[in-house]
Structures are given as structure tokens and as C-alpha cells.
Amino acid sequence: MSKILYGYTALFDSPDGIMAAAQKTADDGFTKFDVHTPYPVHGMDKAMKVKPSKLGFVTLFFGLLGGALAMLFMYWTMAVDYPMVIGGKPLFPLPAFGPVTFEVIVLAATLSTVAAMIALFFYLPQNNHPLHDTDYMKNVSSDKYGLCIEAGDPLFDEKKVKTFLDAAGGKNITPIYNPDPVKYPLLQPRFLSVLLVVALSVSGLTYFTLNKLMYMPPFDWMSEQEKLTPQRTYRLFEDGYGMRMPVQGTVARGFMPYPYRDQPVLEEEGLANPLLATEEVLTLGKNKYNTFCSPCHGDHGDGDSRLRGYFPNPPSLHTPRAREWSDGQIYHVLTVGQNVMASYEPYTTREERWAIVHYIRALQRAKNASDADIQLVRSDNNAR
């Protein structure tokens, strides 16, 4: 089986020797050649006349991409999907996101640079280079300096290259052949089994560490410490309860407690309805009334509900007494209850109760409509 020539290699003894040889090779017009040295030799780029590497653009691209993605991710999670105010800062606080963005830029830039470098060196998916596993490589990774002219060079001619390398002072001039191409190198059983072993041991170790090791002494002192847990007893409080009642008189933020709880609402004190009787409010009031009040007070407030006879009869809401009440007085009944009628505070919000009051007012007006009201409804109906 005839092998395909990859190139010719030669070894040199000193950095000066390799420098001169590289210069000469480049001067003679060779373009596909490479130099291998045990450590970076300064000035080699210039001697070889290599163009500045394009790798930097990969770094730039992925760095910017990483930064943009990090910003987008933080923006999406913190400001759009689940907006969260932290420390009174705006939802998209640029300075706070700065460090994370910076770190992600660095991470993306480095990882992509390394990946691109490996890809360029090995011509992925090949994972082997013809120069690997040769005496040449062993020499240049210890104390020799090597030059390799590749067969792909347009000026390549076996005999000429040999004499050229000889004239340049090279020793151990040897041909290097391409290895037999391996089909699907990534699917070799040996590689796959190594991959499997690595994957299993890494995930097994991770599982063991996170789920077992951290719960064994002495690593458990974080989770086993004396601390307050909901629904558990807690030794440090006298009564042993872990969950505490708020201090007497605690008021929730943005909430005003009802001030007339234990006293009647006087008309002149002006507990006025804060809502306007808009269609929206009246609809809300109607819905809530039908849900909570109609079972006793009847659909139209006449006190003729289906519960009649099973319960102390509720009064009609159209009595002069109820009609002359101020909004605040009706609201007071809903909020604190009256005799057998319970308080509706636990089931309705403040706004809903005020909306119900508006609706009761509408019912009352309908039952005792004046001529003007009837006129109004008629013209309204005609207009429709």
C-alpha cells in the first residue's frame, strides 16, 4: 500500500539556526511550511512571513456574542419573564449586570478561542495530525528545533526540497507520510468507551457529592444548624412555636385598617364612596352582590330570597331606613356585620364592597324611580 507524502522535516540545533532556515524558506517562496520549537522563539512570525492570525476575530465575535447573550438572558429573566425588584433598583440595572456580562464575555472568548485553535490545528473532525507520534515531534518537544515543508506547497518537489533543507543546515531530513485515514475517528470503540467511563464517573461523583457526601458529618453542619423552619417547633421561643404571630397592631404596607370597627359611622363623618359609579364599577358590584348578598336579600334587595324561612328574615334594602343611610353606613354593615348578618370583610376587598354599595344605590333608585328617571331610561333605550 503506497502512502501519501505529507511533507519533509529537518531538525536544527539552535534557535539561530531555525531562525535563519525559516527566513530562507520563506524567502524562497514556500508558503506551506511550519516551524516547531520547544518554546516560543521571538521574531519567528516575522522570519516566516506569516500573516497575523485570524484567530482574534473568532475571539472578538464570540466575546461580543457571549456578552450580548448574557445581557439578553438577564434582561429576560429579571425584567420580562418574572420582573423582580432587588434593592430598589430598576428592573434593568446596567451597573449590576456589568460584572456578569464581563465574566461571560471572558468565558465565551477564551473557550471559543481554544476550540477554534484546536479545530484549526487538527482540521476537525480529524483528530490526528501526521506529525504526531513521530520522532520529529519527540525531538522538537525536547531540545531540537524543527522545520517541516508540506507536500501541498505549490513549489514542492521531493528532490529539490531535500537538497534545500540540506543546504539550509538541517539534519535528520525525513519524509513524513499521512496516516491511514481513519473513518469516523470519533466512533472508535476505544474512544467511546473512554468517553462513557469519564461521563459515568463524573456524573456518579457529582451525584455522590451533592446528594450523599454533603449530608454526612462533618459536611452537614450547614443544613443541621439551629434555625427557624416553617411548620416546625423551635426551641428558642418559650412556647416552642416556630411560626410567629405578627406583633399586636401590625399593619400591612399600603393598607389602612378600618377605623370604625367598634363604633357607629356618623353621617357627617363623611366615610364617602371613593369609587365613581361607572359601568365597570356597577358591573363589579352587581356580580359581587349576586354572589354574596342575593341568597338572603333577594336578587333585587326585596328580602324575598330562597333562604326565607330558614334564617331570620333579612330586611328589605328598600326601607326608608336603608334608603336614607349614607353610603358609609351601608359600607359599615358590609364591613363589620350587623347582629346576625356576618361581616363580609374576609370575602371581599374594599373596592368590591364600595362597588356593591353603588349597586344597592342603583337598585334603590330603580325601585323608587321618578318620572325623570323613567324619561331618561326611555330616551336611552330609543337611542340604542
Binding site: 521571538h42 521574531g43 516575522k46 497575523p52 434593592g87 451597573p95 460584572p99
Partner: protein
């Protein structure tokens, strides 16, 4: 014994020194006028110049020590430039004197009646009192002066004797100097800049000042080195590639400054405590806002792009532009640190002719000091054991 390197000293023409003296005369006269016109503002602008001279002089000594300690070769042919600039250290003792008369204008904490009514300032009096302040200033300048003498004495003696042990001695000296420098430069920054607002505090402030000082020092060294090479005063073996590390260091410190400045800002912004945020709010009032935004561009964005590529770090023309630019940026940085204290509660123009008078003194001082030293000593440490390697440097 290192082999002797051929070096022919070329004298710097007297006209350069003359320019220095003319600038100095002009600066002193205009400065005197400034003090007569508005002494309060003059003290503040003078403080900018004083801190500028201090940062370049002491920073230069730090660069010398750093080179010894890191064992750098490339910088040996340039070492005399920071050595000469450090020659401004003795003059700090002279330059500080006018400021001692401006305590009352500059420092709120010297107003005893205000301190008595202020619990916080009372707590700070053990540190913030005039006597201890002056002791600290004298101590810092004294320590810098001693190290300056020791470093340069050894370095100059080597020119004559070629004794390699002198390099060893300076390495030991550097190891002692660098921690001392860290403490003294922090004291200087805290005393002369941070206590302008005695209620304010920032634990990163010393490093902030240091990072800016390094930029100015490196810019001054780069500018001088490029000019000297262009006019043929340096060794012919010095190529543009020798400038690479100077450019790289400038670039590094531009980034470092931005990093520190951002850290300081972000922590204060995040904690949002009124006792620290007011300092930044002061710098966001009226026209100061434009200067604050400008500082980000002048001190970071523009030099970043100006110095990021490889060719820009070896091209003398671009290096010259960038180093002049960065010297200006450091001046602006100091202006940004100092002037808002003067502006607070006043309706005064942000920039007047006064702001340009005192920098003349700084420029003149460095020219004169450099030329006088260059007359007396070699422009290159001719018998330094690392010199040959330094001259042979290439990328």
C-alpha cells in the same frame, strides 16, 4: 563583568532647558496672578498640579522598582527616564509649601467650629488634625526621598564600577520599597484627595489613585522615550519593538483604571447609602455631568481603542499621540476628583484660564529636571548586566 556596550553620549541642546525655564517663569507669574485674583480657587487648581507631579514622580520610582523586581530586560535601556523623573521627588517638599497656607480653603475638617457641631468629624479628629496631617506628608515625602537616593545612587555607581552586586542590592531595595509605596501612596491619596470631602470614604480609593498615576507615569516615560529615540539620543539598537511593552503596560493600566473606577462606582451605587452616594451626585450636578461622562471616554474608551492593536503599541507616532492624550486624561481625572468640592454650592464657571496656568509649572519642572539630570548622567545604564539582553530585545 558584563562586556562593555558601545555608547556615545549625545548632549541634549541647551535650548530645551531654556524652554523649560521660560515655561516655568510663565507658570509662576500666571500662578501668582491666579492666587491674587481668587486664592480659594487657585488653591484647588494648584492641588491638581501638585498631585500630578506627585503621581508621576513617585510612580516613576515605582516603575524602576518594578523593573528590578520583575527582572525585566526590555526596559533596562529606558530605565534612566523614570530615574530622572523621580528626581522631582525632592521638589515635592517645596511644592507642598503653598498648600499648607490653603488648609482652610481646601479642607473642611480644619474648620474647628464646624467639627465641634459634627459628630462624625469629631470621631475622625484623631486622624484628621492638622499636626498629624503634616507629619504624614513629611513622612511620605521623606520616605520617597530616601528610596529615591538609594536607588539612583546604586544605579549611577554601576555606570562607573560595573559592579553587578549593585543590581542585587537594588532588587532587595525594590522588595522593601513596593509595600512601603503601597502604604504611602494610599496615605497621600486619602489625605490630599479623599479628605477634601471628609464625610466621604471609599476603601478602594488608594488603588484608584494609583491606577491613574501609573497611566500618567507610563505615558510620560513613553513620550520621552519616543522623542529621544526620534532625535537619536538613544542607543541605535533600540527599535520600535522596544516600545511594545510600554504601549502594552499603558493599555493594561487603562483597563485596570476602568476596572477600579467601575468597582468603586458600582459598589457605592449598589449599596445606595446617602453618606457615600453624595460624592457621585456632586459629580453629576450641572456641567460636572458632562465632565464625568467625558472622563469615561477620555480616560478609557478612546485610549482603549487607540492602544488595543499590536501595531499601535510599536508605532512611535501613535504612541506619541496616545501618551500626550493619557497625560491629559490623568489631569482631567485629578480635576474630576478635586474640583467638585470647590464647586459645591457655588455658581462659578467650571473651567477658567486659571486651570491652565499651574500645569505649565508641572511641564516645565519635568523638562528642567530631566535635562539637568541628562547632562550629569548617562541616558542609559551603560554597565547594567541586563542591558545587552535589553538592547537585543525583539518581539
Amino acid at each position: 563583568m558584563p562586556d562593555n556596550i558601545e555608547y556615545k553620549k549625545k548632549e541634549i541642546p541647551g535650548s530645551v532647558e531654556k524652554i523649560g525655564w521660560i515655561l516655568l517663569g510663565l507658570g509662576v507669574i500666571l500662578g501668582a496672578v491666579a492666587f491674587l485674583v481668587d486664592s480659594s480657587r487657585a488653591f484647588f487648581t494648584y492641588l491638581i498640579t501638585f498631585m500630578f507631579v506627585l503621581s508621576v514622580a513617585v510612580g516613576a520610582l515605582f516603575i524602576v522598582a518594578l523593573e528590578y523586581l520583575a527582572g525585566a530586560d526590555w526596559s533596562v535601556p529606558f530605565r534612566r527616564i523614570p530615574e530622572f523623573f523621580a528626581g522631582a521627588i525632592p521638589f515635592l517638599a517645596l511644592l507642598v509649601i503653598p498648600l499648607l497656607f490653603g488648609f482652610h480653603d481646601l479642607f473642611h475638617w480644619t474648620h474647628t467650629e464646624d467639627v465641634e457641631a459634627d459628630k462624625i468629624l469629631q470621631g475622625k479628629t484623631p486622624y484628621l488634625n492638622e499636626v498629624f496631617f503634616i507629619i504624614r506628608t513629611v513622612f511620605c515625602i521623606g520616605v520617597w526621598y530616601i528610596f529615591y537616593r538609594l536607588f539612583t545612587r546604586n544605579s549611577r555607581k554601576q555606570d562607573e564600577t560595573g559592579d553587578q552586586l549593585l543590581t542585587r542590592k537594588n532588587i532587595t531595595l525594590s522588595a522593601i520599597f513596593i509595600p512601603v509605596f503601597a502604604v504611602t501612596i494610599t496615605i497621600a491619596a486619602v489625605d490630599w484627595l479623599m479628605t477634601l470631602e471628609p464625610h466621604w470614604f471609599s476603601t478602594i480609593f488608594g488603588i484608584y489613585f494609583f491606577s491613574g498615576s501609573m497611566i500618567a507615569t507610563l505615558a510620560a516615560i513613553t513620550l520621552t522615550a519616543v522623542l529621544l529615540k526620534e532625535k537619536g539620543y538613544l542607543h541605535p539598537k533600540i527599535t520600535n519593538e522596544h516600545f511594545y511593552s510600554l504601549g502594552a503596560l499603558m493599555f493594561a493600566f487603562v483597563n485596570f483604571w476602568a476596572y477600579i473606577a467601575f468597582s468603586q462606582y458600582m459598589l457605592i451605587w449598589y449599596a445606595d447609602l446617602p453618606e457615600t452616594t453624595f460624592w457621585f451626585l456632586q459629580r453629576w450636578e450641572g456641567p460636572m455631568m458632562y465632565i464625568s461622562i467625558g472622563l469615561i471616554f477620555v480616560h478609557f474608551v478612546i485610549p482603549y481603542f487607540g492602544l488595543v492593536s499590536l501595531p499601535s503599541k510599536t508605532d512611535p507616532k501613535r504612541l506619541k499621540i496616545m501618551s500626550v492624550w493619557l497625560l491629559f486624561a490623568h489631569g482631567l481625572n485629578l480635576y474630576w476628583l478635586i474640583m467638585p468640592t470647590y464647586f459645591s454650592g457655588k455658581e462659578v464657571p467650571v473651567i477658567t484660564w486659571m486651570d491652565f496656568t499651574f500645569p505649565l509649572i508641572a511641564i516645565a519642572l519635568f523638562i528642567i529636571i530631566f535635562v539637568i539630570h541628562a547632562k550629569k548622567f548617562n541616558l542609559m545604564p551603560v554597565r547594567d548586566p541586563k542591558l545587552r539582553k535589553g538592547l537585543d530585545f525583539h518581539l
